[in-house]
Protein backbone atom coordinates (compact mmCIF):
# COMPACT_ATOMS: atom_id res chain seq x y z
CA UNK A 1 0.00 0.00 0.00
CA UNK A 2 1.36 3.38 -0.98
CA UNK A 3 2.29 5.80 1.75
CA UNK A 4 -0.21 8.65 1.91
CA UNK A 5 1.35 11.97 1.17
CA UNK A 6 -1.29 14.16 2.76
CA UNK A 7 -1.72 14.00 6.50
CA UNK A 8 -5.52 14.16 6.33
CA UNK A 9 -5.96 11.06 4.17
CA UNK A 10 -7.13 7.82 5.79
CA UNK A 11 -4.30 5.48 6.65
CA UNK A 12 -5.27 1.90 5.86
CA UNK A 13 -1.85 0.55 6.86
CA UNK A 14 -2.39 1.85 10.37
CA UNK A 15 -5.79 0.18 10.54
CA UNK A 16 -4.21 -3.05 9.35
CA UNK A 17 -1.53 -2.74 11.98
CA UNK A 18 -4.19 -2.38 14.66
CA UNK A 19 -6.26 -5.30 13.43
CA UNK A 20 -3.14 -7.42 13.71
CA UNK A 21 -2.30 -6.19 17.17
CA UNK A 22 -5.81 -6.65 18.52
CA UNK A 23 -6.07 -10.10 16.99
CA UNK A 24 -2.80 -11.37 18.46
CA UNK A 25 -3.66 -9.61 21.73
CA UNK A 26 -6.92 -11.55 21.99
CA UNK A 27 -5.22 -14.83 21.17
CA UNK A 28 -2.54 -14.29 23.79
CA UNK A 29 -5.18 -13.32 26.31
CA UNK A 30 -7.19 -16.49 25.70
CA UNK A 31 -4.03 -18.57 25.93
CA UNK A 32 -2.95 -17.02 29.20
CA UNK A 33 -6.42 -17.32 30.72
CA UNK A 34 -6.59 -20.98 29.68
CA UNK A 35 -3.21 -21.78 31.17
CA UNK A 36 -3.83 -19.95 34.41
CA UNK A 37 -7.29 -21.35 34.96
CA UNK A 38 -5.94 -24.83 34.30
CA UNK A 39 -3.14 -24.37 36.80
CA UNK A 40 -5.53 -22.76 39.29
CA UNK A 41 -8.06 -25.54 38.94
CA UNK A 42 -5.58 -28.35 39.42
CA UNK A 43 -3.85 -26.55 42.26
CA UNK A 44 -7.04 -25.66 44.14
CA UNK A 45 -8.37 -29.21 43.87
CA UNK A 46 -5.04 -30.79 44.62
CA UNK A 47 -4.42 -28.65 47.68
CA UNK A 48 -7.77 -29.59 49.24
CA UNK A 49 -6.27 -32.85 50.38
CA UNK A 50 -3.96 -30.90 52.65
CA UNK A 51 -6.21 -28.00 53.60
CA UNK A 52 -9.70 -29.54 53.73
CA UNK A 53 -8.89 -33.14 54.52
CA UNK A 54 -5.94 -32.36 56.77
CA UNK A 55 -3.48 -34.74 55.16
CA UNK A 56 0.17 -33.95 55.81
CA UNK A 57 1.93 -33.23 52.47
CA UNK A 58 4.86 -35.25 53.74
CA UNK A 59 2.60 -38.26 54.16
CA UNK A 60 1.60 -37.96 50.52
CA UNK A 61 5.17 -37.71 49.32
CA UNK A 62 6.73 -40.35 51.55
CA UNK A 63 3.91 -42.67 52.65
CA UNK A 64 4.00 -46.20 51.31
CA UNK A 65 0.35 -47.15 51.67
CA UNK A 66 -2.38 -45.85 49.37
CA UNK A 67 -6.01 -46.36 50.29
CA UNK A 68 -7.78 -42.99 50.34
CA UNK A 69 -11.26 -44.55 50.36
CA UNK A 70 -10.45 -47.03 53.12
CA UNK A 71 -10.86 -47.00 56.88
CA UNK A 72 -8.49 -45.53 58.00
CA UNK A 73 -7.80 -43.55 54.82
CA UNK A 74 -4.16 -43.83 53.71
CA UNK A 75 -2.55 -41.26 51.40
CA UNK A 76 0.94 -42.58 50.73
CA UNK A 77 1.75 -41.82 47.07
CA UNK A 78 5.43 -42.69 47.13
CA UNK A 79 4.91 -45.96 45.21
CA UNK A 80 3.33 -43.98 42.36
CA UNK A 81 6.03 -41.34 42.39
CA UNK A 82 8.64 -44.08 42.40
CA UNK A 83 6.84 -45.87 39.56
CA UNK A 84 6.65 -42.74 37.43
CA UNK A 85 10.29 -41.83 37.90
CA UNK A 86 11.65 -45.33 37.46
CA UNK A 87 9.69 -46.09 34.29
CA UNK A 88 10.40 -42.78 32.59
CA UNK A 89 14.07 -42.60 33.53
CA UNK A 90 14.62 -46.20 32.54
CA UNK A 91 12.84 -45.47 29.25
CA UNK A 92 15.18 -42.53 28.67
CA UNK A 93 18.20 -44.69 29.45
CA UNK A 94 17.07 -47.09 26.73
CA UNK A 95 15.93 -44.51 24.19
CA UNK A 96 18.74 -41.96 24.73
CA UNK A 97 21.64 -44.01 23.33
CA UNK A 98 19.36 -45.47 20.65
CA UNK A 99 18.24 -42.01 19.57
CA UNK A 100 21.81 -40.74 19.46
CA UNK A 101 22.95 -43.71 17.39
CA UNK A 102 20.00 -43.33 15.04
CA UNK A 103 20.87 -39.66 14.59
CA UNK A 104 24.53 -40.42 13.93
CA UNK A 105 23.54 -43.09 11.46
CA UNK A 106 21.14 -40.78 9.62
CA UNK A 107 23.43 -37.79 9.44
CA UNK A 108 26.95 -39.19 9.40
CA UNK A 109 26.95 -42.74 8.17
CA UNK A 110 24.19 -43.22 5.64
CA UNK A 111 22.54 -39.86 4.99
CA UNK A 112 20.69 -41.03 1.90
CA UNK A 113 19.04 -44.12 3.33
CA UNK A 114 18.74 -42.55 6.76
CA UNK A 115 16.98 -39.41 5.69
CA UNK A 116 14.75 -41.02 3.12
CA UNK A 117 13.78 -44.18 4.95
CA UNK A 118 14.77 -44.32 8.59
CA UNK A 119 13.71 -40.82 9.60
CA UNK A 120 10.13 -41.08 8.31
CA UNK A 121 9.81 -44.48 9.99
CA UNK A 122 10.98 -43.09 13.32
CA UNK A 123 8.73 -40.07 12.98
CA UNK A 124 5.86 -42.43 12.27
CA UNK A 125 6.37 -43.88 15.74
CA UNK A 126 5.32 -40.52 17.15
CA UNK A 127 1.96 -40.71 15.43
CA UNK A 128 0.92 -44.13 16.71
CA UNK A 129 -1.79 -43.77 19.39
CA UNK A 130 -0.71 -44.79 22.85
CA UNK A 131 -3.42 -47.40 23.17
CA UNK A 132 -1.74 -49.25 20.31
CA UNK A 133 1.57 -49.17 22.14
CA UNK A 134 -0.13 -50.47 25.25
CA UNK A 135 -1.84 -53.21 23.27
CA UNK A 136 1.39 -54.31 21.61
CA UNK A 137 3.17 -54.15 24.95
CA UNK A 138 0.49 -56.27 26.56
CA UNK A 139 0.40 -58.89 23.84
CA UNK A 140 4.12 -59.06 22.97
CA UNK A 141 6.38 -57.68 25.68
CA UNK A 142 4.50 -58.87 28.74
CA UNK A 143 4.26 -62.52 27.60
CA UNK A 144 7.90 -62.38 26.50
CA UNK A 145 9.05 -61.11 29.90
CA UNK A 146 6.81 -63.65 31.62
CA UNK A 147 8.62 -66.44 29.80
CA UNK A 148 12.13 -65.13 30.36
CA UNK A 149 12.03 -63.58 33.84
CA UNK A 150 10.37 -64.64 37.08
CA UNK A 151 7.02 -62.90 37.68
CA UNK A 152 4.01 -62.01 35.61
CA UNK A 153 5.86 -60.00 32.96
CA UNK A 154 4.04 -56.83 33.91
CA UNK A 155 5.84 -54.08 35.80
CA UNK A 156 8.47 -51.37 35.46
CA UNK A 157 10.51 -53.18 32.80
CA UNK A 158 7.55 -53.65 30.47
CA UNK A 159 6.37 -50.08 31.08
CA UNK A 160 9.83 -48.62 30.46
CA UNK A 161 10.29 -50.62 27.27
CA UNK A 162 6.97 -49.48 25.84
CA UNK A 163 7.71 -45.89 26.86
CA UNK A 164 11.19 -46.01 25.34
CA UNK A 165 9.74 -46.75 21.92
CA UNK A 166 7.22 -43.96 22.38
CA UNK A 167 9.83 -41.33 23.23
CA UNK A 168 12.38 -42.48 20.67
CA UNK A 169 11.09 -40.10 17.95
CA UNK A 170 11.40 -37.07 20.24
CA UNK A 171 14.99 -37.84 21.13
CA UNK A 172 15.99 -38.88 17.61
CA UNK A 173 14.48 -35.83 15.95
CA UNK A 174 16.14 -33.38 18.32
CA UNK A 175 19.48 -35.21 18.12
CA UNK A 176 19.30 -35.34 14.32
CA UNK A 177 18.62 -31.63 14.04
CA UNK A 178 21.44 -30.82 16.44
CA UNK A 179 23.82 -33.07 14.54
CA UNK A 180 22.91 -31.62 11.17
CA UNK A 181 23.35 -28.10 12.54
CA UNK A 182 26.95 -28.69 13.66
CA UNK A 183 29.31 -26.53 11.62
CA UNK A 184 31.03 -28.82 9.13
CA UNK A 185 34.37 -27.16 9.87
CA UNK A 186 34.29 -28.79 13.28
CA UNK A 187 34.35 -32.32 11.94
CA UNK A 188 36.82 -31.44 9.17
CA UNK A 189 39.13 -29.96 11.76
CA UNK A 190 39.11 -33.23 13.63
CA UNK A 191 39.60 -35.38 10.53
CA UNK A 192 42.44 -33.15 9.40
CA UNK A 193 44.30 -33.98 12.61
CA UNK A 194 44.11 -37.65 11.77
CA UNK A 195 41.07 -38.59 13.83
CA UNK A 196 38.97 -41.50 12.66
CA UNK A 197 35.25 -41.15 12.20
CA UNK A 198 34.44 -42.67 15.58
CA UNK A 199 37.09 -40.65 17.35
CA UNK A 200 35.48 -37.57 15.84
CA UNK A 201 32.02 -38.68 16.92
CA UNK A 202 33.09 -39.49 20.50
CA UNK A 203 35.41 -36.58 21.07
CA UNK A 204 33.89 -33.73 19.09
CA UNK A 205 30.37 -34.47 17.92
CA UNK A 206 28.97 -36.01 21.11
CA UNK A 207 30.32 -33.40 23.55
CA UNK A 208 29.25 -30.53 21.29
CA UNK A 209 25.72 -31.74 20.85
CA UNK A 210 25.34 -33.09 24.39
CA UNK A 211 23.15 -30.23 25.65
CA UNK A 212 20.81 -30.72 22.71
CA UNK A 213 20.79 -34.48 23.23
CA UNK A 214 19.98 -33.96 26.91
CA UNK A 215 17.20 -31.57 25.92
CA UNK A 216 15.72 -34.34 23.81
CA UNK A 217 16.11 -36.83 26.63
CA UNK A 218 14.44 -34.55 29.18
CA UNK A 219 11.57 -33.85 26.78
CA UNK A 220 11.32 -37.61 26.34
CA UNK A 221 11.23 -38.13 30.10
CA UNK A 222 8.56 -35.46 30.38
CA UNK A 223 6.46 -37.24 27.77
CA UNK A 224 7.00 -40.60 29.44
CA UNK A 225 6.14 -39.11 32.82
CA UNK A 226 2.79 -37.92 31.56
CA UNK A 227 1.88 -40.98 29.50
CA UNK A 228 -1.00 -42.85 31.10
CA UNK A 229 -2.78 -45.34 28.91
CA UNK A 230 0.07 -47.40 27.48
CA UNK A 231 1.76 -47.65 30.85
CA UNK A 232 -1.41 -48.55 32.67
CA UNK A 233 -1.94 -51.47 30.30
CA UNK A 234 1.40 -53.13 31.04
CA UNK A 235 2.37 -52.11 34.55
CA UNK A 236 -0.11 -54.11 36.64
CA UNK A 237 -1.42 -51.24 38.79
CA UNK A 238 -0.68 -52.64 42.22
CA UNK A 239 -0.26 -49.71 44.65
CA UNK A 240 3.10 -50.60 46.17
CA UNK A 241 6.81 -50.32 45.45
CA UNK A 242 7.85 -53.50 43.65
CA UNK A 243 10.80 -55.62 44.64
CA UNK A 244 11.81 -56.31 41.05
CA UNK A 245 11.39 -54.80 37.61
CA UNK A 246 8.93 -57.53 36.75
CA UNK A 247 6.42 -57.03 39.53
CA UNK A 248 3.09 -55.21 39.35
CA UNK A 249 3.23 -51.54 40.35
CA UNK A 250 1.68 -48.17 39.47
CA UNK A 251 2.62 -44.72 38.27
CA UNK A 252 1.02 -41.37 39.09
CA UNK A 253 -0.86 -41.36 35.82
CA UNK A 254 -1.99 -44.94 35.98
CA UNK A 255 -3.19 -44.42 39.56
CA UNK A 256 -5.34 -41.51 38.41
CA UNK A 257 -6.85 -43.23 35.38
CA UNK A 258 -7.35 -46.39 37.39
CA UNK A 259 -9.70 -44.87 39.97
CA UNK A 260 -10.95 -41.53 38.70
CA UNK A 261 -14.20 -43.04 37.49
CA UNK A 262 -14.93 -44.62 40.84
CA UNK A 263 -14.69 -41.58 43.08
CA UNK A 264 -17.17 -38.87 43.91
CA UNK A 265 -16.19 -35.29 43.14
CA UNK A 266 -15.22 -33.58 46.36
CA UNK A 267 -14.58 -36.75 48.33
CA UNK A 268 -11.23 -37.23 50.03
CA UNK A 269 -10.36 -39.94 47.53
CA UNK A 270 -11.14 -37.68 44.58
CA UNK A 271 -9.15 -34.83 46.08
CA UNK A 272 -6.20 -37.18 46.60
CA UNK A 273 -6.25 -37.98 42.88
CA UNK A 274 -6.09 -34.26 42.18
CA UNK A 275 -3.06 -34.08 44.43
CA UNK A 276 -1.40 -36.69 42.24
CA UNK A 277 -2.29 -34.53 39.23
CA UNK A 278 -0.72 -31.56 40.98
CA UNK A 279 2.50 -33.50 41.46
CA UNK A 280 2.47 -34.40 37.76
CA UNK A 281 1.97 -30.78 36.81
CA UNK A 282 4.73 -29.51 39.07
CA UNK A 283 7.09 -32.14 37.66
CA UNK A 284 6.26 -30.94 34.17
CA UNK A 285 7.27 -27.43 35.23
CA UNK A 286 10.55 -28.80 36.52
CA UNK A 287 11.20 -30.55 33.21
CA UNK A 288 10.43 -27.38 31.28
CA UNK A 289 12.89 -25.45 33.42
CA UNK A 290 15.58 -28.07 32.90
CA UNK A 291 15.05 -27.92 29.14
CA UNK A 292 15.27 -24.12 29.17
CA UNK A 293 18.47 -24.25 31.14
CA UNK A 294 19.97 -26.83 28.79
CA UNK A 295 18.99 -24.83 25.73
CA UNK A 296 20.70 -21.81 27.19
CA UNK A 297 23.88 -23.85 27.39
CA UNK A 298 23.78 -25.36 23.93
CA UNK A 299 24.96 -22.29 22.05
CA UNK A 300 28.02 -23.33 20.10
Amino acid sequence: MAQSTKVQQPKPHIAEEWVGRVYTGICIFILIVAIFSMVYFVASRGLRTFIGDGVNPLELLTGLKWNPGGEPALFGALPFIFGSFSTSILAALIAGPLGFCAAVFMVEIMPGFGRKFLQPVIELLAGIPSVVYGFVGLSVIVPLFRDIFPGQGIGIAAGALVLSVMILPTITTIATDALAALPSGLKEGSYALGATRWQTIYRIVLPTMLPALLTGIVLGIARAFGEALAVQMVIGNAPHIPRSLFESTSTLTSAITQSMGNTVMGSAHNNALWSLALILMLMTFVFVFIVRWLEGRSKI
Binding site: G185, G189, S190, Y191, L193, G194, Q199
Partner: protein, 251 residues
Protein backbone atom coordinates in the same frame (compact mmCIF):
# COMPACT_ATOMS: atom_id res chain seq x y z
CA UNK B 1 66.09 -27.98 -2.87
CA UNK B 2 64.75 -31.49 -2.54
CA UNK B 3 61.16 -32.29 -3.38
CA UNK B 4 59.09 -33.58 -0.49
CA UNK B 5 55.88 -33.98 -2.47
CA UNK B 6 55.90 -35.30 -6.02
CA UNK B 7 52.66 -35.08 -7.98
CA UNK B 8 52.41 -36.89 -11.28
CA UNK B 9 49.59 -36.90 -13.83
CA UNK B 10 46.95 -36.23 -11.23
CA UNK B 11 43.33 -36.24 -12.42
CA UNK B 12 40.47 -35.63 -10.03
CA UNK B 13 36.77 -35.94 -10.76
CA UNK B 14 33.77 -34.80 -8.73
CA UNK B 15 31.30 -37.20 -10.29
CA UNK B 16 31.52 -36.41 -14.00
CA UNK B 17 33.20 -33.07 -13.52
CA UNK B 18 36.96 -33.07 -13.90
CA UNK B 19 38.36 -30.58 -11.41
CA UNK B 20 42.06 -31.38 -11.87
CA UNK B 21 43.62 -32.20 -15.23
CA UNK B 22 46.86 -34.13 -15.28
CA UNK B 23 48.70 -32.08 -12.71
CA UNK B 24 52.41 -32.73 -12.35
CA UNK B 25 54.64 -30.80 -10.01
CA UNK B 26 57.11 -31.10 -7.16
CA UNK B 27 56.72 -29.31 -3.85
CA UNK B 28 60.10 -28.51 -2.29
CA UNK B 29 60.89 -29.35 1.29
CA UNK B 30 61.02 -26.62 3.96
CA UNK B 31 59.80 -23.84 1.74
CA UNK B 32 56.56 -22.05 1.10
CA UNK B 33 54.70 -22.93 -2.08
CA UNK B 34 51.76 -20.71 -3.01
CA UNK B 35 48.81 -21.73 -5.19
CA UNK B 36 47.17 -18.85 -7.00
CA UNK B 37 44.46 -18.65 -9.62
CA UNK B 38 40.89 -17.54 -10.15
CA UNK B 39 38.04 -18.94 -8.14
CA UNK B 40 37.05 -22.49 -9.02
CA UNK B 41 40.32 -23.40 -10.74
CA UNK B 42 41.01 -26.30 -8.38
CA UNK B 43 43.48 -24.90 -5.82
CA UNK B 44 41.57 -26.19 -2.82
CA UNK B 45 40.92 -29.46 -4.54
CA UNK B 46 44.61 -30.08 -5.10
CA UNK B 47 45.43 -29.00 -1.56
CA UNK B 48 42.86 -31.39 -0.17
CA UNK B 49 44.30 -34.18 -2.27
CA UNK B 50 47.55 -33.89 -0.38
CA UNK B 51 45.99 -35.10 2.89
CA UNK B 52 43.17 -37.02 1.22
CA UNK B 53 40.48 -34.79 2.67
CA UNK B 54 38.68 -35.30 -0.63
CA UNK B 55 37.91 -38.82 0.61
CA UNK B 56 35.22 -37.20 2.74
CA UNK B 57 33.35 -35.95 -0.33
CA UNK B 58 31.16 -38.63 -1.87
CA UNK B 59 31.70 -39.23 -5.58
CA UNK B 60 35.30 -38.08 -5.91
CA UNK B 61 37.59 -40.17 -8.05
CA UNK B 62 41.28 -39.65 -8.29
CA UNK B 63 43.87 -40.97 -10.76
CA UNK B 64 47.59 -40.47 -10.90
CA UNK B 65 50.25 -40.39 -8.29
CA UNK B 66 51.13 -38.31 -5.26
CA UNK B 67 54.27 -39.27 -3.40
CA UNK B 68 55.15 -37.75 -0.07
CA UNK B 69 58.71 -38.44 1.02
CA UNK B 70 58.77 -41.12 -1.62
CA UNK B 71 55.65 -42.91 -0.42
CA UNK B 72 52.60 -43.17 -2.68
CA UNK B 73 49.52 -41.86 -0.85
CA UNK B 74 46.83 -42.69 -3.42
CA UNK B 75 46.59 -46.34 -2.55
CA UNK B 76 43.72 -48.12 -0.86
CA UNK B 77 46.14 -49.52 1.72
CA UNK B 78 47.27 -46.04 2.79
CA UNK B 79 46.77 -45.27 6.46
CA UNK B 80 44.84 -42.06 5.87
CA UNK B 81 44.79 -41.05 9.54
CA UNK B 82 48.54 -41.35 9.73
CA UNK B 83 48.87 -39.36 6.51
CA UNK B 84 46.77 -36.55 7.98
CA UNK B 85 48.94 -36.54 11.06
CA UNK B 86 51.94 -35.92 8.80
CA UNK B 87 50.15 -33.44 6.57
CA UNK B 88 48.36 -30.90 8.73
CA UNK B 89 45.75 -28.48 7.49
CA UNK B 90 44.53 -25.00 8.41
CA UNK B 91 41.19 -23.95 6.95
CA UNK B 92 39.82 -20.70 5.60
CA UNK B 93 37.48 -20.13 8.53
CA UNK B 94 39.10 -20.58 11.94
CA UNK B 95 37.48 -23.75 13.29
CA UNK B 96 38.57 -24.24 16.90
CA UNK B 97 36.73 -26.98 18.77
CA UNK B 98 34.25 -25.82 21.42
CA UNK B 99 36.74 -26.76 24.12
CA UNK B 100 39.37 -24.90 26.10
CA UNK B 101 42.43 -23.45 24.41
CA UNK B 102 44.51 -26.14 26.08
CA UNK B 103 42.24 -28.97 24.97
CA UNK B 104 42.23 -27.69 21.40
CA UNK B 105 45.97 -28.06 21.16
CA UNK B 106 46.02 -31.30 23.15
CA UNK B 107 43.35 -32.83 20.90
CA UNK B 108 45.74 -34.22 18.30
CA UNK B 109 48.28 -35.66 20.75
CA UNK B 110 45.46 -37.27 22.73
CA UNK B 111 44.28 -39.01 19.56
CA UNK B 112 47.66 -40.68 19.42
CA UNK B 113 47.49 -41.85 23.00
CA UNK B 114 49.50 -39.12 24.71
CA UNK B 115 47.69 -38.56 27.99
CA UNK B 116 50.32 -37.79 30.60
CA UNK B 117 49.73 -34.32 31.91
CA UNK B 118 53.38 -33.35 31.85
CA UNK B 119 53.92 -34.43 28.26
CA UNK B 120 50.77 -32.66 27.15
CA UNK B 121 51.68 -29.48 29.01
CA UNK B 122 55.01 -29.43 27.20
CA UNK B 123 53.46 -30.07 23.81
CA UNK B 124 50.78 -27.43 24.31
CA UNK B 125 53.32 -24.81 25.31
CA UNK B 126 55.70 -25.71 22.51
CA UNK B 127 52.96 -25.63 19.87
CA UNK B 128 51.47 -22.38 21.12
CA UNK B 129 54.94 -20.81 21.12
CA UNK B 130 55.56 -22.01 17.56
CA UNK B 131 52.25 -20.46 16.54
CA UNK B 132 53.22 -17.17 18.23
CA UNK B 133 50.22 -17.36 20.50
CA UNK B 134 51.71 -18.43 23.82
CA UNK B 135 52.24 -15.00 25.31
CA UNK B 136 48.69 -13.96 24.57
CA UNK B 137 46.95 -16.99 26.05
CA UNK B 138 49.32 -18.51 28.58
CA UNK B 139 47.36 -17.12 31.53
CA UNK B 140 44.00 -18.47 30.44
CA UNK B 141 44.59 -21.80 28.79
CA UNK B 142 41.44 -23.14 30.43
CA UNK B 143 39.22 -20.57 28.74
CA UNK B 144 37.02 -21.51 25.83
CA UNK B 145 38.75 -21.23 22.47
CA UNK B 146 35.57 -19.66 21.10
CA UNK B 147 36.16 -16.58 23.23
CA UNK B 148 39.37 -15.38 21.58
CA UNK B 149 39.61 -13.23 18.47
CA UNK B 150 39.44 -14.63 14.95
CA UNK B 151 43.14 -14.05 14.36
CA UNK B 152 44.01 -15.76 17.63
CA UNK B 153 41.67 -18.59 16.76
CA UNK B 154 43.45 -19.10 13.46
CA UNK B 155 46.84 -19.19 15.17
CA UNK B 156 45.32 -21.63 17.64
CA UNK B 157 44.35 -23.80 14.68
CA UNK B 158 47.93 -23.60 13.47
CA UNK B 159 49.16 -24.58 16.95
CA UNK B 160 46.67 -27.44 16.95
CA UNK B 161 48.05 -28.68 13.65
CA UNK B 162 51.67 -28.31 14.83
CA UNK B 163 50.99 -30.27 18.02
CA UNK B 164 51.00 -33.58 16.15
CA UNK B 165 54.37 -32.72 14.64
CA UNK B 166 53.54 -32.79 10.94
CA UNK B 167 56.00 -32.52 8.04
CA UNK B 168 53.68 -30.50 5.85
CA UNK B 169 51.26 -27.70 6.66
CA UNK B 170 48.47 -26.96 4.19
CA UNK B 171 46.84 -23.55 4.47
CA UNK B 172 43.72 -22.87 2.42
CA UNK B 173 43.19 -19.10 2.31
CA UNK B 174 43.90 -19.12 5.99
CA UNK B 175 44.09 -15.36 6.31
CA UNK B 176 41.17 -14.36 4.10
CA UNK B 177 38.76 -14.15 7.03
CA UNK B 178 41.14 -12.06 9.13
CA UNK B 179 41.93 -8.39 9.63
CA UNK B 180 45.19 -6.95 8.20
CA UNK B 181 47.10 -7.08 11.47
CA UNK B 182 46.21 -10.70 12.14
CA UNK B 183 47.05 -11.46 8.53
CA UNK B 184 50.47 -9.91 8.95
CA UNK B 185 51.08 -11.92 12.11
CA UNK B 186 50.28 -15.14 10.33
CA UNK B 187 52.47 -14.20 7.36
CA UNK B 188 55.36 -13.61 9.75
CA UNK B 189 54.58 -16.89 11.40
CA UNK B 190 54.71 -18.69 8.07
CA UNK B 191 58.17 -17.21 7.49
CA UNK B 192 59.25 -18.74 10.80
CA UNK B 193 57.60 -22.07 10.22
CA UNK B 194 59.12 -22.70 6.83
CA UNK B 195 62.43 -23.41 8.54
CA UNK B 196 60.91 -26.54 9.97
CA UNK B 197 57.89 -27.36 7.88
CA UNK B 198 56.96 -27.66 4.24
CA UNK B 199 54.14 -25.22 3.67
CA UNK B 200 51.64 -25.13 0.85
CA UNK B 201 49.26 -22.20 0.88
CA UNK B 202 46.34 -21.16 -1.27
CA UNK B 203 45.83 -17.44 -1.49
CA UNK B 204 43.77 -14.97 -3.46
CA UNK B 205 46.03 -12.20 -2.37
CA UNK B 206 48.75 -11.75 -4.97
CA UNK B 207 50.79 -9.55 -2.64
CA UNK B 208 50.67 -12.22 -0.01
CA UNK B 209 51.95 -14.84 -2.43
CA UNK B 210 54.72 -12.46 -3.49
CA UNK B 211 55.67 -11.61 0.09
CA UNK B 212 55.53 -15.01 1.68
CA UNK B 213 56.22 -17.77 -0.79
CA UNK B 214 59.34 -19.21 -2.40
CA UNK B 215 57.50 -20.96 -5.22
CA UNK B 216 54.26 -19.96 -6.88
CA UNK B 217 51.96 -22.12 -8.96
CA UNK B 218 49.37 -20.51 -11.19
CA UNK B 219 46.25 -22.59 -11.92
CA UNK B 220 43.55 -22.14 -14.49
CA UNK B 221 40.58 -24.46 -15.05
CA UNK B 222 42.13 -27.38 -13.23
CA UNK B 223 45.50 -27.12 -14.93
CA UNK B 224 48.87 -25.80 -13.92
CA UNK B 225 49.67 -22.93 -16.22
CA UNK B 226 52.93 -21.88 -14.72
CA UNK B 227 55.14 -22.96 -11.88
CA UNK B 228 58.22 -20.96 -10.97
CA UNK B 229 60.18 -19.18 -8.30
CA UNK B 230 57.91 -16.55 -6.87
CA UNK B 231 60.20 -13.75 -7.95
CA UNK B 232 60.43 -15.03 -11.49
CA UNK B 233 56.73 -15.68 -11.79
CA UNK B 234 55.79 -12.21 -10.66
CA UNK B 235 58.51 -10.29 -12.49
CA UNK B 236 58.82 -12.19 -15.75
CA UNK B 237 55.95 -14.62 -16.20
CA UNK B 238 56.50 -16.84 -19.20
CA UNK B 239 52.84 -17.46 -19.96
CA UNK B 240 50.56 -14.78 -21.27
CA UNK B 241 47.66 -15.94 -19.05
CA UNK B 242 49.80 -15.69 -15.93
CA UNK B 243 50.74 -12.16 -16.86
CA UNK B 244 47.11 -11.22 -17.38
CA UNK B 245 46.13 -12.71 -14.05
CA UNK B 246 48.85 -11.18 -11.89
CA UNK B 247 48.41 -7.80 -13.48
CA UNK B 248 44.72 -8.02 -12.62
CA UNK B 249 43.38 -8.18 -16.14
CA UNK B 250 41.09 -11.11 -15.23
CA UNK B 251 40.18 -13.44 -12.38
Amino acid sequence: MTALIEIENLDLYYGDFQALKSISMDVPEKAVTAFIGPSGCGKSTLLRSLNRMNDLIAGTRIEGSIKIAGEEINTSGMDVEHLRKRVGMVFQQPNPFPKSIYENVAYGPRLYGINQRKKLDELVEKSLRSAALWDEVKDHLKRSALGISGGQQQRLCIARALAVNPDVLLMDESTSALDPISTLKIEELVQELKNEYTIVMVTHNMHQAARVSNQTVFFLNGEVVEYADTETLFSTPSDRRTEDYISGRFG
